[in-house]
């Protein structure tokens, strides 16, 4: 079992201490971790959800725009941050794994280390109606 990149470990440790919901993926987009505040929004504790590929997490929460139109994975801020290596922000609707629809504002940013190494991306999730 290979050790994660040091910056990713630090990101996870930091996220685990913050009350802001945070979601972390690796360079392939695989979900590595979301913290306890994010568990409330996504409707399942991370230890139950576990790591999952981008193709799964980008659809499992059924993201839609304000009009209810489904959003393609490439329209999601975290995917933009990862693929375009730039910050991205968007408000959208998801349905948590507890079945509850929530409108969330997402700010995503790429994690780029020394030597221009793409390490993954992180997203801050904001419950628009709940905070």
């Amino acid at each position: 079992m290979a050790q994660r990149e040091i910056e990713i470990i630090l990101m996870r440790q930091l996220a685990s201490y913050l009350t802001v919901p945070i979601f972390v993926v690796d360079p392939a987009g695989t979900l590595l971790f979301y913290n306890e505040p994010a568990e409330g929004l996504l409707g399942r504790v991370f230890d139950e959800a576990g790591e999952m590929p981008m193709g799964e997490w980008s659809t499992i929460f059924r993201p839609t725009d304000d009009e209810g139109h489904p959003l393609e994975p490439d329209a999601l801020p975290l995917v933009v941050a990862l693929k375009q290596r730039q910050p991205a922000r968007r408000a959208l609707w998801i349905v948590g794994l507890d079945g509850v629809p929530r409108k969330i504002d997402i700010v995503a940013f790429p994690l780029i280390g020394q030597g221009n190494r793409l390490l993954g991306a992180a997203a801050v999730l904001w419950d628009v109606n709940g905070r």
Binding site: M1, A2, Q3, R4, E5, I6, E7, I9, L10, R12, Q13, L14, S16, Y17, G113, Q114, G115, R117
Partner: protein, 279 residues
């Protein structure tokens, strides 16, 4: 490989009657491969004495810096081989996100902090931003990786004929961990130190001291022991002793983690001590 400790102290040189057994010089370790190639790990004050015994006929020296905190570079300008015309000296160390190694090292090795500029050294000096991942020096496979410590800091793993020496003098793998040790993939330094034949690792603090120094980039000796157990190290050399710790204190710290179930051989880092790894 042969390893000799020339400086085992952390943070600040600490000469005095209370530190004569473990030594007061800051980080410096001599590593020789089977053919005698010289690799110097860090340039703390211990490097001065090492420099005085480097053979005259040697053609190349490699100095590998883990980071640029003062206790790891303070002795650099006092390393005698730097003043030998024609000697090839390669210095490897981490760049920052905005400055290369030369720029960073020059901040110290130039007036007013030091009288001799890097460019004025008589040796043939080559500076390298250390690559992350594997590279080779002489017969050694070297692997460098970032580890938990304030500022860009690497640890090194050296492999020769499947035997390994790992050097992580400044490391706080317990930082931010809810429980330590956690899973290997989420533990700083795990890949570097995995199944090391000889692990030289930060053990600066007692557990009580660590509680007041979280985030300073160093380990409680109990964390060091847990880390060594997690990675499956065969021998552990505790290193980067706190400048305020006397010989007696270091003896006591070692006794606290040493017991019959310790799965590795424990050897508190003592200036002048040597180890042979492999044939």
């Amino acid at each position: 490989m042969k390893v000799t400790l020339w400086g085992t102290r952390g943070s600040l040189p600490s000469a005095g009657p209370e530190t004569v057994r473990y030594g007061g010089n800051t980080s410096c370790v001599e590593l020789r491969d089977r053919a005698g190639a010289l690799i110097v790990l860090d340039a703390g004050t211990g490097i001065r004495r090492l420099g005085s015994v480097v053979e005259r006929e040697i053609a190349r020296v490699d100095i590998l810096l883990t980071h640029l905190h003062m206790d790891h570079i303070q002795g650099f300008g006092f390393f005698d081989p730097l003043y030998r015309p024609g000697l090839e000296v390669h210095v490897w160390g981490p760049p920052s996100t905005t400055h290369d190694l030369r720029t960073r090292l020059t901040k110290y090795l130039s007036p007013p902090l030091f009288p001799v500029r890097l460019r004025d050294l008589p040796c043939r000096l080559h500076l390298h931003d250390v690559p992350m991942g594997a590279f080779a020096i002489a017969s050694l496979q070297v692997h460098a990786a970032l580890v938990f410590h304030p500022g860009p800091t690497v640890g090194y793993r050296f492999v020769e004929r499947e035997r390994s020496v790992v050097y992580i003098p400044d490391h706080e793998p317990a930082l931010g961990a809810r429980t330590f040790p956690g899973r290997p993939r989420w533990t700083s330094g795990y890949d570097l130190a995995n199944e090391a034949d000889l692990l030289i690792h930060d053990a600066q603090f007692t557990e009580e001291e660590y509680e007041h120094r979280v985030g300073w980039g160093h380990s409680a000796i109990t964390h060091t022991a847990k880390f060594a157990r997690l990675v499956g190290a065969r021998r552990l050399v505790t290193f980067h002793h706190d400048p305020g710790h006397s010989d007696d204190t270091l003896d006591q710290m070692a006794r606290r983690i040493e017991n019959a179930s310790t799965p590795f051989e424990l050897m508190p880092g003592q200036e002048g001590r040597s180890f042979t790894i492999g044939a």
